[in-house]
Symmetry: C2
Subunit: 172 residues, 2 copies
DNA sequence: CTTTTTAATCAGGTCCCCCTGACTAAAATT
DNA sequence: AATTTTAGTCAGGGGGACCTGATTAAAAAG
């Protein structure tokens, strides 16, 4: 039975965090609008980049299933990424229906920047706090996985599976 | 000099957190697509709702300045919110150029749901962890405010001010 | 009492996420 | 060989976040 007041405080801070982060991002990429260089979130094109950075050389269909998108949407995002030179498309030699999507060096860099890059604001924390933060987030993530699994009783069993498969061992 | 490894772990968890949360949200509102009921983030229409929930009865112009949007964008979002019965528009009696925007009961509920509502996943944490989490987030937020302030050297001095004013005492 | 400033509006545009429907080419099945 | 399934493509659409430009109505200023 956690203290409700404490929960509210944490929730408030979390929301604030989300808002400021969003604003900070906004300003950051407004400053150097050097062409392209978008934030690349967990949607659309960003999703695909992330999936590929974990598992390069997937076919469009595989990407679509994994990311729970229609093949058409997937194609759209992939094409946009191709235009930005972040991924390449090539016909599979074993099955010429398939199109294999691969990250370019640029794409890998972009994906890595999104993931591996340590946000500067983490510098504000001490080692102890980092540990605490990590363990707390681990718990929260587990809880969210649960939430997804239970809320997902109806049809979208694939979603849960895809997400889990995709993320479970992301950071080891 | 914090440990880089620890930072990386934390960063990873944070990213994962973002991703799962996003997916959880997605599933949550896919389930009850009872019409409307969108996530309402810190952008566009959501931004306005949040601003109003903190300071109801602002004029469109005030909203625009506060949120760093053009008046046209603001008008667009407000109109969309009106259609969803989340806010009302009424001409100011003292200055008939102004349009005062007010939250409806529904709008207030929606805004509250976005903010005050304690995310269920926080139940996973103990009191101690909640305290730790809150204090860590406080630090991170402060750091982000800094980042905004410094990165914001050029023109957009208003942005920083708006954000700060808007959020500083959000949760007391 | 004009002129200027201010709050809004309409019109039109760009880019993003994501979906349905219709259709081809290549593989698998019968 | 003929049919069906599978991977993609094109066309078109809906909604969202923003923005610039042009215009109107009302208040403030000269």
């Amino acid at each position: 039975m956690p203290n409700l007041e404490k929960q509210k405080n944490a929730a408030g801070k979390l929301i604030e965090f989300g808002m400021i982060r969003h604003t900070a991002d906004e300003i950051a990429h407004r400053n150097h609008t050097d062409k392209g260089e978008r934030p690349l979130r967990f949607q659309g094109q960003g999703k695909i980049l992330l999936a590929l950075s974990q598992d390069d050389g997937l076919s469009q269909k595989e990407l679509a299933t994994r990311l729970n998108l229609t093949v058409q949407s997937t194609a759209e995002f992939v094409n946009k990424l191709v235009k930005k030179d972040l991924v390449t498309k090539e016909k599979s030699t074993t099955d010429r229906r398939k199109t294999i999507i691969r990250l370019t060096d640029l794409g890998r860099t972009a994906a890595d920047t999104e993931t591996a890059k340590v946000p500067e604001f983490l510098n504000a924390l001490t080692d102890t706090e980092l540990d605490q933060f990590t363990s707390i987030l681990t718990k929260l993530n587990a809880s969210l996985y649960d939430e997804i699994n239970t809320a997902d009783d109806t049809k979208s069993g694939k979603v849960q599976q895809a997400v889990s498969d995709w993320l479970r061992d992301w950071f080891l």
